[in-house]
């Protein structure tokens, strides 16, 4: 027996593991570029949110058709991974269908179930390809989806389809080999779905069949490893990030915007109110966010959890009425900027010196100014991403660091400052409404 396939497999596994590890480290580093934010409270509520929203797909099912097909792929991903474990062990130990002798006839049942899932994944991928490319569902055809994002979406579906076909091909040829070389191949019983493919391979010589079976096996496992690495560069990363991202969800009511403590300290000093903190406030960096390091790590994690489904954008009142703002684009830009800045740092760049920023180079004021803060986007997101929080932090930067808000907002600010109302009315007229009413005779 030759150990060559095992050595080759081990080498491939090691290289894939090394690359995957490098990417995970880079992504973690990028997320930690964000400012600190405490999301470690209310743990039981966090587990519950993760179980319902990520594991239970709760918010996906607000739109039934995509949720239904997505569930096939999701379930397939979770469960077919059990089979991948067998693949990896077979590859390392030079065995074939390692688990089969241990679980007896249940093995055939399990493989049949996996085949059913593989078919379901295949059907779902085809449906999704049709939705993207033939039906052209509007949210997949927005300007931010041009180029790589559209290709990425299609590639994922095509790769997944091919991987599923590889499993079925392997099982089809394996079944033929079970009859031709019963001593070398474990008897699985009929595998119903892959049996459909048997006529394609029936005429082949046993030798060719062995090659086809092995090729499908290698293709599937190497394909999965390569796909795992691809995923870290792709929107598809949501398959992992959805879980931590929902765990770290904002659990406050959506209307509550976070209080800026740095501002509180300054305002208290201005108003002459004694601050609770005896120590002088820590050095204030920047008010609001111009770039990714001004955002919180959770904003950045959000960007890696986004799979660009566009449900946010399709419910955004600004986007619906043709404005440039798209909440999905805010998340995509944040991720692009993170990758851009992260690789700048990785190449030894001086922090903060790459001459680019999220606001300005990726996101425009026109976009952030169009937001009505209505929370339709955060409500729609199946993995609890919060684009609104990023938008507001950018508005804070523009208003407080640049005094660059739209002119009408600056007028509104000065009205509040001088007249204590956003409109230019005299504060002494504030109670006039009561005079008219007091004089009005009542019928009772």
């Amino acid at each position: 027996m030759t150990y060559l396939p095992q050595i080759a497999f081990l080498a491939i596994l090691a290289v894939a593991g090394f690359m995957l590890f490098g990417r995970i480290r880079q992504i973690r580093k990028n997320i930690l570029l964000g400012r600190p934010l405490d999301r470690s409270d209310r743990k039981s509520e966090r587990w519950k949110t993760m179980l319902l929203v990520a594991f239970g797909q709760q918010k996906m099912f607000k739109r039934f058709i995509p949720a239904f097909f997505h569930f096939f792929i999701y379930a397939g991903f979770l469960i077919i991974n059990l089979e991948v474990l067998e693949f990896v062990l077979d590859g390392l130990l030079g065995t074939h269908r390692l688990f089969a002798p241990f679980i007896g006839s249940f093995y055939g049942v399990a493989i049949n179930f996996f085949e059913f899932l593989a078919l379901a994944v295949l059907v779902a991928c085809v449906v999704f390809l049709i939705r993207r490319n033939i039906l052209r569902v509007a949210r997949f055809a927005k300007p931010e989806m041009k180029g790589w994002p559209a290709l990425d979406g299609n590639l994922i579906l095509v790769i997944e389809s091919i991987l599923m076909l590889a499993i079925l091909t392997m099982n089809a040829t394996d079944q033929l080999l079970q009859t031709q070389l019963p001593e070398a191949y474990h008897q699985t019983g009929t595998l119903y779905i892959s049996s459909v493919l048997i006529p394609l391979f029936d005429g082949l010589s046993t030798g060719t069949m062995v090659v086809v079976e092995r090729f499908a096996w290698w293709f599937h496992i190497v394909g999965i490893l390569a796909f795992a690495i691809y995923v870290t560069y792709s929107k598809h990363l949501h398959i992992f990030m959805a879980f931590p991202n929902t765990w770290y969800s904002n659990l406050n009511v959506k209307g509550k915007f976070e209080n800026m403590e740095t501002v509180t300290n300054e305002v208290k000093m201005m108003l002459g109110i004694q601050s609770d903190q005896a120590a002088p406030p820590a050095e204030v960096g920047r008010f609001g966010a111009k770039d990714i390091m001004d955002l919180s790590w959770k904003n950045l994690m959000d960007a890696y959890a986004c799979t660009e489904c566009g449900r946010c954008t399709s419910e955004c009142p600004a986007n619906i009425t043709g404005k440039k703002l798209s909440p999905r684009k805010i998340m995509m830009d944040t991720r692009d900027r993170m990758e851009e800045y992260g690789s700048f740092l990785a190449k030894g760049g001086e922090p903060g010196a790459d001459g680019k920023s999220l606001l300005g180079d990726h996101i425009s004021k026109e976009e952030i100014n169009a937001c009505t803060t209505c929370n339709a986007c955060t409500e729609a997101c199946p993995v609890n991403i919060d684009p609104l929080n990023i938008i507001v932090q950018m508005r804070q930067y523009v208003a407080m660091e640049e005094s660059g808000s739209p002119a009408s907002w600056n007028t509104m600010f000065s009205n509040i400052e001088n007249n204590f109302a956003p409109w230019k009315f005299s504060p002494s007229d504030r109670f006039n409404w009561a005079n008219e009413l007091k004089q009005e005779p009542s019928k009772d």
Partner: protein
């Protein structure tokens, strides 16, 4: 009966404290259209015998539009000044007819030292109806089609979806829903300080998009519970030249109009 509108200063001078403070808000104080909502609500409070007070000239903008537009300094200056007034009067409970004031007072003042029980007037009215302090059934809106427009800062922001609807149902009206309602309700276009500037370039105004949806229900009243929504939808109805057939009314106005014996105007 003469309508009583006590200020906190007057009450405090007499050593009294109110059952609830009515936070009128800037729109409720200055905007001609929303002043009618303020007076409608005050009439209902009077008829229900609620001992309430207002701040009068001591009230100031909560700072909501400043915060949403990114001016956290201005927001906190406003908030702290208001909190000093509210805490000075030892206010416990606040009711307001503005979802933006409601959200800010309820959710954002606590971090700055202002802790109050804050209720939106839709919830408050529903409670008064449930307690029998306001009787509305069988009024002028019996069987009439009314659609309710969810304010973002009541609905998604604070999960107040049912109270306004229960008020409408209590009128024996036929509540018809728009396709986008409750969690998927479409914004009127004025939130997030959009009220105070022109919209960015697009192909449609948000309030027109929403008004078209409201009109398509065939309702003769579009019920609102927010001064900004009120403005945006009223403008939308005018733009569609439907103002003679379709009225945009606040919940307090609906209650008042449903009972001719309550209303004087």
């Amino acid at each position: 009966m003469e309508y009583k509108i006590a200020t906190m200063a007057e009450m405090a001078a007499k050593g009294e404290s109110p059952e609830v403070l009515f936070w009128v808000g800037c729109a409720g104080s200055f905007d001609d259209r929303y002043k009618r909502v303020t007076t409608a609500f005050v009439k209902i409070l009077n008829h229900a015998g609620i001992k309430f007070a207002v701040l009068g000239q001591e009230e100031a903008c909560t700072g909501d539009p400043a915060k949403r537009a990114g001016n956290e300094f201005l927001f906190q200056m406003q908030a702290m000044a208001n909190i000093q007034v509210l805490n000075g009067y030892e206010i416990k409970k606040i009711v307001t007819a503005c979802p933006h004031c409601f959200n800010t007072l309820k959710n954002e003042y606590p971090s700055l030292g202002g802790d109050y029980e804050v209720i939106h007037h839709s919830t408050y009215l529903q409670q008064l109806i449930n307690e029998g302090r306001v009787k509305v059934a069988g009024g002028a809106f019996k069987g009439k089609k009314i659609t309710y427009h969810d304010s973002c800062y009541l609905g998604r922001a604070n999960q107040v979806y049912e109270a306004p609807r229960e008020v409408i149902s209590a009128l024996d009206a036929d509540l018809v829903e728009m396709k986008r309602c409750r969690t998927t309700g479409l914004c009127c276009g004025a939130g997030g300080a959009q009220m105070f500037k022109d919209a960015e370039k697009g192909n449609k105004e948000i309030n027109i998009e929403r008004t078209e949806e409201a009109l398509s229900t065939g309702a003769e009243v579009i019920a609102a519970a927010c001064p900004f929504c009120m403005t945006m939808l009223s403008d939308g109805v005018k733009n569609k030249e439907k103002e003679s057939q379709v009225r945009v009314l606040d919940l307090a106005e609906l209650i008042l109009a449903s009972k001719p014996d309550l209303s004087n105007s």
